[in-house]
């Protein structure tokens, strides 16, 4: 191995590049930036300002935080619905005034003041909602105008009634309690903000109206076409925002026992900044109440901190301006580029030097030498089928196969012309096996291990195994269950080919070539699933040996077949029985003569083998070229290989014309015929095997003669 190759192998096999892509797939990365900002802000101001975390100092700022975060919660909901509400400052101020007016000037009870406050907010919110929701005006400008309108109104009212409020003698214990006291160490406004946030969070994530809001924000057009009442939903978000702002206004009325020209000033840009800094997306659909709250804490800490540090007039606006611009830009760029970055970064190729192989070319004289026999196979279901990855026959000679539409199709013996959908599972049913009582067991790509009873009852057996601690992607989930077989004791051994890609992206896994394939076992006695082996390059076909004491499984991208011992001195260990084949092995099944059939889904090529030694080249390729132009393994030629118990190759056959069975993913011997499936094929082939036992069937071989 040259120095370059050695360096490459260290660079690409030891540095965990794939972690970056895996982290980016996580939803929590959306929250990571605002959370980091929150920690940094608190830490900075906490260390710069003496006594920042003292209880008395916190008491006052948390009161303010309670009021502010309520406004932000309202803003968050509006923004999630795809709008924006700049009038929150006005609503806040007007609600505050309503409460003050009812309580101090009309000298009514505090509850009436609360009612007046809420009514003000709801009415104002309804006006916004009507204009934006039903008249479909532009949210930003419309609420900007209603903001000016409300502000002008508030200024007039405040200047008119300021003196009267000063002279009023109205007092109330409730008001003092709300404004000044604490309850279990927290002020009423904080408690109310927490309750409101929890209710809103639950409503958004777990109720129909909340989902409607998110749907409208996520895609207004799709929501409309799906029958959601978009206009009403938008209307309601503004009403809710008005409601939230009015509670905030009521609380500040209680706290300050009055309303002044400064009430709610600049609140709209603060709330907007808070929501955006917290990570609530502009344009809707993405964000949460928690994010809004994080943003609220950041913004309030920042502005209050700067005031306490003694910076002059205007500093707040400057900081808010910077924060808003930076947060909005990050939000937009992140949203726009996340998928791009993810697509580019996710494929993280590793180095692999494939071993020298024997040729499979016709006339080469090797055991792997392919011929043209499969091109003579009859076809079943030509044009009706799409993607029969695996085929299997039951005791009554009926033929089953999966399709890419998520169905199991049954062809009736003896003609195999008539067919029906035996069961609909979903996903992409791949490997099939029949258990002792005739249930059809299937590995369903992207879903898990399923069982279909002869009465067509579909049952999920397993969709997850235990999670490993070090993996970043959720490797408990079965992403690409590929093939299964059943041991004499009923346990189902199956493979999950990759942890990194979904079933339909299996070709990407070949380019990355990272060893993440697993062998698992499902125990029907207790329903548990265990991981037996891990770290293979795309585990694929599984087949019980004839004696039931071991099993064979294929490792596709390494072109190897391994034997895993169930019993005997080597129980629980695997050994490689065939290595360095010229083709990529897929399913393995029993043959009537005591040997095993193995499908080749494609053939190795010198160019792809070379590319495996150049992970840097594959990395550049995945980043710079469109996927259509990538160098993939050759899957246009395949074949069927028979090997014996020791791993020696007995014979090989193929379809060199490429007309009928270019790619073979499975084959099943039944009564002297070989039934051939292919995941990209539109038919099942039936090939008469010369000299094969005309009575041998797979169910008999596994479970004995018919009971």
């Amino acid at each position: 191995m040259s120095v370059r190759e050695r360096l490459h192998s260290w660079r690409y096999n030891l540095v965990p590049d794939h972690v970056v892509g895996e982290i980016l797939t996580k939803r929590w990365t959306d929250n990571a930036i605002p959370f980091l900002a929150l920690v940094v802000t608190l830490a900075t101001f906490g260390s710069v300002i003496p006594g920042f975390f003292k209880l008395t100092a916190l008491q006052e700022s948390t009161r303010q935080l309670g009021e502010f975060s309520m406004v932000v919660t309202g803003m968050t909901v509006v923004m999630l619905g795809g709008g924006i509400d700049l009038s929150v400052g006005s609503i806040f101020a007007l609600s505050c005034f309503s409460a003050v007016y009812v309580f101090f000037i009309l000298e009514q009870s505090i509850w009436l003041a609360l009612a007046a406050s809420l009514t003000t907010g709801l009415v104002f919110g309804a006006i916004n909602g009507y204009l934006v929701g039903y008249l479909r005006l532009r949210a930003f400008l419309t609420t900007l105008v209603t903001f000016i309108f409300g502000r002008a109104l508030f200024d007039i009212l405040v200047t008119t009634y300021a003196a009267d409020v000063q002279l009023s003698t109205a007092t109330s214990d409730v008001l003092d309690f709300i404004g000044d006291s604490t309850f279990w160490g927290l002020s009423v406004s904080v408690w109310l903000a927490i309750i409101l946030a929890i209710i809103t969070h639950i409503a958004l994530t777990r109720s129909r109206p909340g989902w409607h809001v998110l749907a409208v924000g996520g895609s207004r057009r799709s929501a409309h076409n799906a029958g959601i009442r978009v206009r009403r939903t938008v209307f309601m978000t503004y009403v809710f925002s008005g409601f939230c702002a009015s509670i905030g206004g009521f609380l500040i009325a209680c706290r300050l026992s009055g309303a002044g020209p400064g009430t709610g000033l600049n609140l709209e840009i603060m709330a907007l900044t808070a929501a955006v800094v917290g990570g609530v997306s502009l344009g809707g659909g993405r964000g949460s109440v928690i994010k809004g709250l994080m943003g609220a804490i950041i913004v309030l800490t920042m502005t209050n901190g700067l005031i306490r540090l003694g910076y002059g007039t205007g500093t707040n606006q400057m900081v808010l301006g910077i924060m808003l611009a930076v947060a909005v830009t990050i939000d937009i760029r992140w949203l726009k580029n996340r998928h791009k970055v993810l697509n580019e970064v996710y494929v993280a190729p590793v180095y692999l030097k494939m071993g020298e192989t024997q040729s499979a070319a016709p006339g080469s004289g090797t055991p792997y030498e392919l011929d043209n026999r499969l091109s003579a196979a009859d076809h079943i279901g030509l044009g009706e089928l799409e993607g029969p990855e695996d085929v299997i026959l039951d005791r009554d000679d009926n033929l089953y196969c999966g399709t890419r539409h998520g169905e199991i199709v049954r062809f009736f013996a003896p003609g195999y012309v008539r067919s029906e959908v035996f069961a609909h599972i979903g996903g992409f049913p791949l490997g099939l096996a029949l258990d002792k009582s005739g249930n059809l067991i299937s590995c369903v790509g992207a879903m898990g291990l399923y069982s279909v009873s002869p009465e067509r009852e579909v049952k999920r057996l397993s969709a997850e195994t235990s999670r490993s601690w070090t993996s970043i992607v959720d490797d408990a989930r079965l992403r690409d269950p590929n093939d299964c077989d059943i041991a004499p004791d009923g346990r189902i051994y199956f493979t999950d080919s990759t942890k990194r890609y979904d079933a339909h992206d299996w070709a990407l896994d070949s380019i990355e070539n990272r060893a993440t394939g697993r062998l698992l076992v499902y125990d029907p006695k207790d329903g548990s699933t265990k991981t037996l082996l891990d770290g293979y390059r795309y585990t694929n076909g599984v087949c019980m040996a004839h004696d039931g004491k071991s099993l064979f499984f294929a490792e596709s991208w390494a072109c190897r077949v391994h034997r895993y011992w169930l019993e005997g001195p080597k129980a629980g260990t695997a050994e490689c029985v065939i290595r360095d084949m010229p083709g990529y092995p897929d399913n393995i099944n029993r043959a009537s003569d005591g040997n095993y059939w193995m499908a080749w889904l494609g053939m190795r090529t010198p160019s792809f083998d070379l590319s495996l030694r150049h992970p840097d080249m594959r990395k550049r390729m995945t980043r710079r070229l469109p996927q259509d132009e990538w160098l993939f393994p050759n899957i246009n030629t395949g074949g069927v290989v028979k090997f014996n118990e020791k791993g020696g190759i007995v014979e090989a056959m193929g379809d060199l014309t490429g007309g009928a069975h270019p790619m073979v993913t499975s084959m099943r011997e039944h009564k002297g015929f070989l039934f051939v499936g292919g995941i990209l094929n539109n038919r099942i082939g039936r090939y008469k095997i010369s000299g094969a036992d005309p009575n041998w069937t797979s169910p008999t071989s596994y479970w004995g003669a018919k009971p």
């Binding site: 795809g82 709008g83 924006i84 204009l131 008249l135 479909r136 005006l137 532009r138 949210a139 930003f140 400008l141 419309t142 900007l144 105008v145 209603t146 000016i148 309108f149 502000r151 002008a152 109104l153 200024d155 007039i156 200047t159 895609s219 207004r220 057009r221 409309h224 978009v230 840009i269 907007l272 955006v276 502009l282 344009g283 809707g284 910076y311 002059g312 007039t313 205007g314 500093t315 707040n316 606006q317 400057m318 900081v319 808010l320 301006g321 910077i322 808003l324 611009a325 909005v328 830009t329 937009i332 760029r333 726009k336």
Partner: protein
Amino acid sequence: MNTIGWPNFRSLNQEGIVFAIAVVLFVAAAIGLPGFIDANNLVAIVRSVSVLGILALGMAVVIIGRGIDLSAVAIMAMSVAWYLQLLNSGTPDGLAFAYVLAGVLAVGLLNGFLVAYADVPAIFVTLATGSFVFGYVRSQLITQDAVPVPQGHWVELLGGLRFLDIPIEVFVFAGLAFLFFLFLRYTKWGRYIYFAGDNPVAARNIGIPVRPMLVLRYVLSAFVALIAGLLTAASLHSINTRVVNSTLLYDIVLVAVIGGIGLSGGRGGVRNVLVGAALIGILLNAMTIIDIPLLYQNLIKAAILLGAIIVDGIINPRDEQTAQQGDI
């Protein structure tokens, strides 16, 4: 341009209606309000809308290109405040002006860059930069809210200039309006603004440099704001930065929108700004003569702006199927 979608009322476009209302208002005020028709008052009207009109010209160019510039007033007030502060602290005039010009262009470029190349909605960019410009200049560069013009400086002299008894800013407004008219109507870049505003994707597809043009618009708007600021300082002999927190910004949008420049872009021109400015000028003047308090004037203006936006929304309706996602 400006035609409403109703075929039978094709002659009744918004510009025409607004112009008619302005005329009616003018006549009514002339008859009903003593001292309105007086020559001095008429000059005062034109003068009062000059600065507003100049700012509205810059805003119009941005709005026609399907954007909005909420930082205009901040740039106007803060650039001049900084300029005057520099002068008062003894910086040579040329150097001070160069600083300010560079600052103004930088903000314009920043606005344009973020809108054009970072794809951030104009409304947020300019809201943020407006807030930043005000906060930065107020807290870092100047010491008090109002900055006076130094004695005998050319800005002060500019304020006293008269031609045919008409203050100079009227002529500046007229000149700029004419220049903008020529720019928008007869230059390639001017026509690009309409194409990009009407359909940015199509404009880009036919090879118009949409993004550099976007930057140009915001730089232009910032530059116009500087001129307006200098004129304001000239007539008042000082600049008060509190104007940033006033409703002036919305008056500018009001002038543009009420004159018939659609917020969805691609429509309108200098004539619309003139009509809008005329109506607002007459309205403000009449309200002042009737002695409506400033607070109530704000209320009335807000109501008018709301009405204008509603009418704009009805004339240029948005549809669930065609509305752009995230277009707020």
